[in-house]
C-alpha cells in the first residue's frame, strides 16, 4: 500500500513538472527551474563518487567546466554539429577524468579531497590562462541546441523540457545504479576499503568507475549549462562552484537518491529568496547552512530517513515491551 502511495506522489510531481511552463508562464521561474535541473545533474554526479563511494571530490567544478568548454570549443572552433559535440564533450571529460582518477584515487580521504581541489584549481588556471578557451574573457557564441526532428530549442519553454528530459534520464540512471550490485559495491567501498579489498573487490577499479561516472554526469550538466547560458567564463571552474555543488548535496542528503534534487532546489530557491538582503545575504546564508548542518548533519532526506527508522524502531520496542511486560512481572516476583 505504501508503495503505491509513494508512486502516486511521484507521478503527481512528474505531472506538475510537465505542466509547469503551461500553468506558470513566468520566465524567471522557468529560468530558476532550468538552473536547478542543470545543477541537480552535477550534484548526482558528485553523489556517485562522494555519496556512494565515499571519496570527497572537489574537482567536480572542473569537470563541469571541461564538459561545458568542450561543447563550446567543439561547436565554435571546430564547427562540429551540436549534438555530436554534445556527446563528444561528455566522452572527452570522462577520458580526462579517467586519467586524473588513476592518479588521484591512490590518495585517501582528505588527501583525496585536497588533491582533487588542486586538480580543480589547475583546471581553473588552465582555462583562465589559455588562449584557446578565451581566457578571462570567456567563450562567446555557443549556438542553440540543434533541432531534433520537429523539436527546436529557441524558447525558454523548450529549454525547460530539454533539461527536464535529461534530469529524468539521470534520475532513472541513478535509481538503477543505487539498486544494483555495482551500487552496493560502491557503498561497501565507502564503508571500508580495506574490508572490500579482502573480499576480493577491486577497490581501485570500482572507485575509478565511480569517479568516471560522476565526472561524466558533471560534464553532462556542464554541456547543458553551456547550451543554455551560451557564454562561458573561467569562474565556472572556480573552487566556489565545487563548494556549491557539495552544499546542494549535503543539504539534500548525501548518499541518498532524492537528496540531490531536493537539496539543489531548496538552496537555489533560498538564495533567490535572500536576494532582498543584497550584499548581506551571506550574513544570513552562512548561519543557515551552519544551523542546517547542526540539526540535520545527514541532510534533509537523510534526516527524514533517520526519523523514519527511529520511529519504526520505537514501534518495535513498544511492541516488544507489551509482550515482555509479563516476564518483568515474574522477575520481580522471583
Amino acid at each position: 500500500m505504501k508503495m503505491t502511495k509513494k508512486t502516486y506522489l511521484l507521478l503527481a510531481l512528474l505531472v506538475a513538472a510537465l505542466l509547469f511552463p503551461i500553468l506558470v508562464p513566468n520566465q524567471y521561474y522557468l529560468q530558476i527551474l532550468i538552473l536547478v535541473f542543470i545543477w541537480t545533474i552535477a550534484v548526482y554526479g558528485l553523489n556517485t563518487i562522494t555519496g556512494l563511494t565515499g571519496q570527497l571530490s572537489l574537482a567536480h567544478a572542473g569537470f563541469f567546466a571541461i564538459g561545458a568548454y568542450s561543447l563550446g570549443l567543439l561547436t565554435i572552433n571546430a564547427g562540429i554539429p551540436f549534438w555530436a559535440a554534445f556527446v563528444l564533450a561528455i566522452v572527452i571529460t570522462t577520458i580526462i577524468s579517467f586519467f586524473i582518477g588513476i592518479v588521484a584515487l591512490r590518495t585517501k580521504s582528505h588527501f583525496f579531497a585536497i588533491y582533487t581541489m588542486s586538480v580543480g584549481f589547475l583546471i581553473y588556471l588552465i582555462i583562465y590562462k589559455s588562449e584557446l578557451t578565451g581566457g578571462v574573457r570567456g567563450l562567446i557564441g555557443i549556438p542553440n541546441p540543434a533541432p531534433i526532428g520537429p523539436l527546436t530549442f529557441e524558447s525558454i519553454q523548450s529549454y525547460y523540457y530539454l533539461m527536464l528530459f535529461f534530469l529524468l534520464l539521470t534520475i532513472f540512471f541513478m535509481y538503477r545504479l543505487f539498486h544494483s550490485l555495482l551500487g552496493k559495491t560502491f557503498v561497501a567501498i565507502r564503508n571500508s576499503e580495506e574490508l572490500a579489498e579482502t573480499l576480493g573487490i577491486s577497490v581501485m577499479k570500482n572507485k575509478l568507475l565511480a569517479f568516471v561516472i560522476s565526472a561524466g554526469l558533471a560534464s553532462l550538466s556542464g554541456a547543458l549549462y553551456a547550451s543554455y547560458v551560451r557564454f562561458l567564463g573561467p569562474q565556472m571552474a572556480d573552487i566556489h562552484v565545487a563548494f556549491e555543488i557539495l552544499l546542494y548535496l549535503l543539504v539534500g542528503g548525501i548518499g541518498t537518491l532524492a537528496g540531490p534534487l531536493i537539496g539543489t532546489f531548496i538552496v537555489v530557491v533560498l538564495t533567490q529568496m535572500l536576494q532582498f538582503l543584497e550584499e548581506f545575504r551571506m550574513l544570513v546564508f552562512g548561519p543557515i547552512v551552519v544551523l542546517l548542518i547542526l540539526f540535520y548533519p545527514r541532510g534533509i532526506v537523510g534526516g527524514y530517513l533517520m526519523w523514519r527508522a527511529k520511529r519504526a524502531k520505537k514501534q518495535k520496542v513498544a511492541d516488544a515491551n507489551t509482550t515482555t511486560k509479563g516476564e518483568n512481572g515474574n522477575a520481580v516476583n522471583h
Partner: protein, 256 residues
C-alpha cells in the same frame, strides 16, 4: 598441499616480523598458529592474504604462485579471512554485509546495472542465496536486518565468518576468532569451524585460547620472534620444551 610457504620473510624497518618461515597447510584440515604476542602471526596472515608484500620468500596456493599478489586477487583465488579486531561494514545491515561477500564471484557491471539485465538479476539472486546460506551456516539468520554495529561482539565474529564464507573460499584465515568471547560461545564458534571443514574448507586460525586450539586443531605451527619454532600435532606441541618456555608457560590451563 593447499598452501606451501617457502622461506617467507617480512621486515618492518629493521625488525623481522616474520623470519624465514617455511610451512605447509593441508587441505581440509584445521591448522592453528600460536605464539607470543608480537610473534608475527597476524603479519603471517597478512602476507598470505596479500595485505602486505613479503620481503622475500614464496607463497603458493594449490601450486600457483601468489607471493606478490594484491589482496583482492588472492581473495578471488579462494582465500577468505577475518581480522584480529573485528572488521565489518558497520553502517550496513548484516545481510548487506554478507551479500557483498559474494560480489567477487559476479560480473555484473554498469551496463547490467542500468539496463537491469538478466545477468544482473541472476547474480543478485545468487548473492542473496549465498548470503542467506552463509548466515544460516553461522546461525544468524534472525539478525539479517540488524545494523552490523549494533550486534554483540560474538555475533559480529559470526558475521565476519559468514562474510569470509560468502566469498566461496578454499582456505579461511581466522585471526583470533574467539578473542573476547566467553567459553560457552567459544564452543559455538568451534562448532562452526568444524562445520566449515566438513564442508570441505581448509581452516587456518590464530588463537591464544589453548583449550580450544588443542581440541580443534589437526596441526599447529608455533611462531616466536618471527621464526617457526615448532610444527606438529597438538600432542607434540604441548610437550615441546621450547614452546612451553616461550609461550605456554608452566602451569598453563591447557586442558582446563
Amino acid at each position: 598441499m593447499l598452501l606451501t610457504i617457502n622461506q617467507l620473510t617480512k621486515q618492518f624497518g629493521g625488525l623481522s616480523a616474520v623470519n624465514d618461515v617455511s610451512a605447509v597447510i593441508e587441505e581440509s584440515k584445521i591448522t592453528a598458529i600460536i605464539g607470543p604476542n608480537g610473534a608475527g602471526k597476524s603479519t603471517f596472515f597478512n602476507l598470505i592474504s596479500g595485505f602486505h608484500q613479503p620481503t622475500s620468500g614464496r607463497i603458493e596456493l594449490s601450486g600457483q604462485d601468489i607471493t606478490n599478489m594484491r589482496a583482492e586477487h588472492v581473495a578471488r583465488l579462494g582465500v577468505g579471512r577475518t581480522f584480529q579486531t573485528t572488521h565489518l561494514f558497520e553502517q550496513a545491515t548484516v545481510l548487506d554485509n554478507v551479500l557483498i561477500g559474494h560480489r567477487l564471484r559476479t560480473k555484473a557491471g554498469l551496463f547490467d546495472a542500468i539496463f537491469r539485465t538478466k545477468r544482473e538479476r541472476d547474480e543478485k539472486k545468487k548473492c542473496l542465496d549465498k548470503a542467506l546460506e552463509a548466515l544460516e551456516f553461522v546461525g544468524l539468520t534472525s539478525l539479517a536486518y540488524e545494523q552490523a554495529h549494533s550486534i554483540t561482539q560474538e555475533q559480529q565474529k559470526r558475521v565476519a565468518f559468514a562474510l569470509a564464507l560468502a566469498t566461496d573460499p578454499k582456505l579461511v584465515l581466522l585471526d583470533e576468532p574467539a578473542a573476547g568471547v566467553n567459553p560457552d560461545e567459544t564452543e559455538g564458534l568451534s562448532e562452526v569451524m568444524k562445520k566449515m571443514v566438513k564442508r570441505g574448507k581448509t581452516v587456518c586460525l590464530i588463537e591464544h585460547k589453548m583449550p580450544m586450539v588443542m581440541s580443534l586443531a589437526d596441526h599447529i605451527l608455533v611462531l616466536n620472534h618471527g621464526e617457526l619454532i615448532a610444527n606438529g600435532t597438538p600432542k607434540d606441541i604441548q610437550k615441546n620444551e621450547r614452546v612451553i618456555e616461550a609461550y605456554l608457560g608452566g602451569n598453563s590451563n591447557v586442558s582446563a
